[in-house]
Amino acid sequence: MDGTGGGAYLRIRHLTKKFGDFVALRDVSLDVHEGEFVCFLGPSGCGKTTLLRAIAGLDIQTVGTIHQAGVDISSLPPSERDFGIVFQSYALFPNLTVARNVGYGLESQKMARAEIDKRVSELLGLVDLDDQRDKYPAQLSGGQQQRVALARALATSPGLLLLDEPLSALDAKVRVHLRQEIKQLQEKIGVTTIMVTHDQEEALAMADRIVVMNQGFIEQISTPNDVYAKPVSPFVAEFIGTTNFIDGVMTADGRISAAGVTIEAGGDNTAFTAGDKVTICVRPEDVLVTETADGRNGSFEVTVSDVEFLGSFHRCHVTPTRGNGTGFMADLSANHARNLRLEEGRTLNVLLPPAFVRVYASGETE
C-alpha cells in the first residue's frame, strides 16, 4: 500500500500548524483510504488532536493542503466540510432527549418528520439504545452517552467520521467493550474513520493503520502489526509496548557489542560502520530463555537479578554473567517460568533472536 497514492480519500500534504511561536504540526503528510480506520497515536502534546481539528476545519492549518474525495477543503469552515465528529466530552445537548440529539442534524435538512423518526430509530438500533430514546443525556451512563454521540455523528451519513479520544472518559471495562462495538459498527457501515487516542492498546486493537506522532512529526504510519514488530525509531519502540534499550558499538563483522556480549541483529544495518555507537532494541517477550546453551548460536549465560510477577507472565531482569553489568528484561509465561524454576540468583541461558533485534543510531532515544 502506497501511503501517498493518488486514490486516497483524504489527502493531507505538508501540514504545518503554528500557535504563535509554538509549532504544533511540522510538515505532516498523510493519506487515508476510503473505508479505512486510522488511529492517530502519541503522547499528549504530540499534535494528534491538532491534526484532527485541522481535518475538521476547527483549527485550520497555517500551511499545507487537505483534499477530501478529490476536493480541496484546505480553507473551508467546518460547516462546509463533510464529516461527523465525536468529542471526548461527547458534547451532547443536555436539554434535548436522546432521539432529539440524534435527529438534530436531520431537522435542519428539511426532512419529513416521519422520515427523521425512521432514521433516528435505525441509528438508535445500530448503537443498541432503542429503549433510551426519550431520556435526557444526564440520565444515561457514560458508555450510553458515548453511543448517542456516535449515532448523532453518523445521522447525516458523513463521508468521514472523526473520533477525538472518544473512550478516554470511560472506565476500563466499558472501554474494552465499546472499542469492539465501534470497530464492528465502522466495518458494518464502512465509513472512513479517524480516531485520536493516547492509548496504544486501543489503537492496536481498532486501527487498520496507526499514525504514530511525536512533537508535531509523524514518526511512523503502519499496520498495528508492523508498528509493534518493526518500529522505525526508538520512540515508537518505547511508546508502544515495552522494549529493552541496550547501548552498544558496531563491530567489524556487522554484529553489535553490547552489555559485554556480542549480539547479532537482523535487518539491513549497512548504514552503520564499525565503531558506530548504536542502541539495540528487543522486546522482553522476544527474548528466548532456556536452561542451557543447548548448542544455540549466539546465546549467552545470564544471572537472574530480579523477578516481577505480573499475573499471566513473569518479567525477570537478567544480567550477562560475563558482561559489563548492564542488564535487560525478559518475559516468561507462567508455565515456562515454572519449568525453568525461575528465581533470583539463578543462572540461565539467553538468546536474542536476530530477527527481533533492531538497531538504531545512538542518541535517537529521547
Binding site: 500500500m1 502506497d2 501511503g3 501517498t4 500534504r13 505538508h14 504545518t16 510538515d27 505532516v28 503528510s29 498523510l30 493519506d31 475538521a56 476545519g57 476547527l58 485550520i60 492549518q61 497555517t62 500551511v63 499545507g64 484546505s74 480553507s75 473551508l76 469552515p77 467546518p78 460547516s79 462546509e80 461527523g84 465528529i85 468529542f87 466530552s89 458534547a91 445537548f93 443536555p94 436539554n95 434535548l96 438534530y104 442534524g105 431537522e107 435542519s108 435538512q109 435526557y136 443525556p137 444526564a138 440520565q139 448523532r152 455523528a153 445521522a155 447525516t156 458523513p158 512529526f217 509523524i218 514518526e219 511512523q220 504510519i221 503502519s222 499496520t223 508492523d226 518493526k230 522505525v232
Partner: protein, 571 residues
Amino acid sequence: MTDSAATTTAPASAPTIKPKVSSEDWIMRAVLVGIALYLIVSILLPLYAILSKSFKDVDGAFVGVANYAKFFSTPALFWSIQNSLTVTLICCVIVVPVAFLYAYALTRTCMPFKGFFKGVALIPILMPSLLPAIALVYLFGNQGLIKSWLFGYEIYGPIGIVMGESFYVFPHVLTILLISMANSDARLYEASTALGASRIKTFFTVTLPSVRYGLVSAFFVCFTLVITDFGVPKVVGGKYNVLATDIYKQVIGRQDFEMGAVVSMVLLLPAVLAFAADRVVQRKQVALLSARAVPFQPQRNPATDGLMFAFCGVVGFILISILGVAAFASFAKFWPYDLSLVLNHYNFDLMDGGGWDSYFNSIELAAWTAVIGTALVFTGAYLVEKSNGFLAGRAGLQLLCMVPMAVPGLVLGLAYVFFFNAPGNPLGFLYHTMPILVICTVTHFYTVAHLTAVTALKQMDAEFEAVSASLKVPFYRTFFRITVPVCLPAILDISMYLFVNAMTTVSAVVFLYSPDTSLASVAILNMDDAGDIAPAAAMGMMIVITAAAVRLLHAILTRGILARTQAWRKR
C-alpha cells in the same frame, strides 16, 4: 505494508492558508460589529463629548485647562474632593469589616436563621439610595424620632452621608465577600487543625489569606459605589458638598454645563482607578481556586455561633428598621405629631414630580431595559465567547463591554446631554424620549450583566458549536435551541438585575427625563426637594414593593424552570 511519512518535500514558499469565512461567520461578525457600534455610540462618543466639553467655554470655544484652573482655584469646588474621599473612606472602614463578619457568620458558623439573615441583607438593593436617606431624616432629622441619639450633631452632613451610604452599599460588599468565602477549601482547615493550630491562628493563616482578594475587591466596590452615589448626599448632604452633588448643582442649579463636565472628569478619575485596580485583583483570584477544593462545612461552636447571631441580629435590625421607618413614614398622617395611618401620601397625582405617571414610566423603562438589555447583552456575550476567528473584533467588544462599569451614572447621564443634545447630531431626536432613557440604563448596567452572561456561557461545553457545524445546523438555530435554553437561569438573572436597577437608579436618568418621561426615582428626588418628604417615602416604597415583587417572580420562575427541566439537569 510499511510506509513511512510522505517524503516529498514541501514547496519552497508554501502559501499560508487563509481560512474561508462562511456566510454564517459573516452574519456573526456583522451582529458583533453592530453591538460594538451600539456601545461606541452609547458610551465612548458621549464620554468624548463630556471630555471635550470640559475644555470649552459656554460658546463652545476651546479654552484648554481654563475650566480646570477655575475648579481648583474655587475652594468651594475642590474641597468637595476631600469631602468625597473622607466620607467614602470612612464608609469603607465601617462597611467592609461589618460585611466581612456578616459573611463569616453566614458561611463559617452554625448560627440559626441564616436564610433569614441572607434575605434581610438584600433589602437595600430594592431601594433607590434616596430612600434610606429619607428614612434617616425621619429618624434623626429636625423632627426625628431619635434625634437626641446624635448628641446634638446634625444628620445633614457627613454623619448622614456615612450612615446612608453604609446602608446602601452593604449588600453589594456582602455579596462579594460571600462569594470569596464560599470558595474556601475545607482541606486547608483540616490540615490546620491537624497541625494543632488554634482557631485564632487558623483564622489568620487560612481564612484571611484565602479571602484577601475578595476583601480588596469588596473595598474597591464600596469605594466606587459610595463616591459615585448621588441619592444619599442629595437628601442628607446638607451644606457638605461632595463631587456627585456638585455635578448636579452645577448643571441643574447653576446651568454651568462646563463646570459640570469638569467635576464629572474629576469624579471619573477615582472611579476608573478603582475599577482598573479591581480588575487586576479579580484576575489574580481566578488562579487561586483549584477544581479539587472540598467545600467547607462549619462545625458547631455555641460561643461563636451565639456571638455571631447577636451581631447579625443587630445588623439585621438596623436594615429592617430603615425599611420599616420608610414604610411607616409613608403611611403616617403628619410625622411626628399625628402618626395615624393614612394613604394620603400615595396620592401622587396631587404632588409635583409627575404623579402616578412617573411610577408607570419607571415600570415601562424597567421592562424595556430588561427585555432589550438582556437580548443585547446575551447576544454580545455569546459572540465574544463562541464565534469563530475575528479575534480582534471579539477582544474589542469584550473591552467595550467593560467600559460602562467604570463610568459613574451622573457622568454618563451628563455625557448623554452633551452628546445627544449637540446640534447636528443625527440621533438628537432621541433626546427627552423614553428610548434614550432605555439606552442610557442598558448601557449603565451593561458590564455586570455581560460578566454574568460570559460566566454562564463559559460553563457550556465548548464543542456544541463544532458539533452543530459538523451537522450543518446553522449557528442561530443552535443558539435558540440549545444555548438560550441551557443558559435560561442566567438570562433570568440578567433581566431581573436590569429591571431592579432600572427601577431604582436615579443618577444617570436625572439629567435625561422630560416632563413626559418623569420616573419614580426622579419623583422621589423632586418631591424631597419640594419638602414633600412623606410622598417621597411613599414613592420609594412603591419602588421597593415592585422590585421585591420582581425578585419574587424571578425566584418562582427560576424554580419553575429548574423543576420543569430537572430531568436534564439532574446528574
